[in-house]
Symmetry: C2
Subunit: 207 residues, 2 copies
Amino acid sequence: MAKAPRSLPPSVQRLIDAFAALPGIGPKSASRLAYYLLRSPAEQSMVLSEALRELKLRTRLCSVCFNITEDDPCEICADESRNTALICVVEEPLDVTALERARAFYGRYHVLHGVISPMNGVGPDDLKVNELLSRVSSGGVTEVILATNPTLEGENTAAYLQRKLMQSWPTGLSVSRLARGLPVGGDLEYADEVTLSRALEGRQKMT
Amino acid sequence: MAKAPRSLPPSVQRLIDAFAALPGIGPKSASRLAYYLLRSPAEQSMVLSEALRELKLRTRLCSVCFNITEDDPCEICADESRNTALICVVEEPLDVTALERARAFYGRYHVLHGVISPMNGVGPDDLKVNELLSRVSSGGVTEVILATNPTLEGENTAAYLQRKLMQSWPTGLSVSRLARGLPVGGDLEYADEVTLSRALEGRQKMT
């Protein structure tokens, strides 16, 4: 009767497994990637292999803002032309990249490396929260912008940080949150109810 | 005014570029993968890096069927319990895996490594076509199953191979094609017209 299906060559199977362990890559895409690389010049696999090896060897967290960097302090914290009185708190390093692309913020960042999430067992001590408080307590900071994501966990984390910050500095420190509203270029018809009600609440006078 | 956006650390950017060069991975997914690996233990990056490095070092094409293998001849060609009189011709190594999973074929394979595609400048000489003809001419083969994909290019390639095979062995060699029809578990209502008309043409008597 039917025999067990032939297994793939072990080196191909190992690569498929390693690709499939990445988020958003299923077993089918993983095989396609592996066979794509088998067909491509060896150089392409080597470039990716080398980049992966160097990733962890070369990068570290900035000791000031905890963004990913090759130099400590990072390029942004080392830039003296930036406003040191303004700290923008974000969840992940990719959020820094997004905000820098918008070219609208000239202060410094603080990367939490996650959000408070009791469901996933993540508390404030698992994030760079104490580091934020000691950065603010070292003085010179006038405003903290809480730019965590507009999700339940992001909002909860922002509320927690706001409470913590206002407890220690009830006056003299401004704590703000990014505006919620309709995305530019979006269509009112397709906006969800929560976004619409936030856009109404936060409506701005036209002058 | 606005400064140029801060660039990412070079080692992170290199990894993003290497991921984005893979098919089906855009720049956004590539950054997400890179930052995912930055957060994960170094071991995960190293396993993937190593698997990529070994892929090309360990694998080669089987000198008989041109499937991807670590040993030559491959496991399937080396298996003496398989029927050597039957050759199933497929486009890619992944097709061999799919057919082996079906556990319905006990002959040997021949991997073309592509299809004839004048649009992409791929002719019969770019594929393992001559190697197929010399395999058949070396004798002992009674049937060639053309299992190229049911696409325009797959059909054209099958038609070309059939002509070539019948020219050289007008008798004594049976050339067949996988059946076209409704996929098992599919819904007649959603089948396209071409599939439906092929399913009608190929209808089978119930006994």
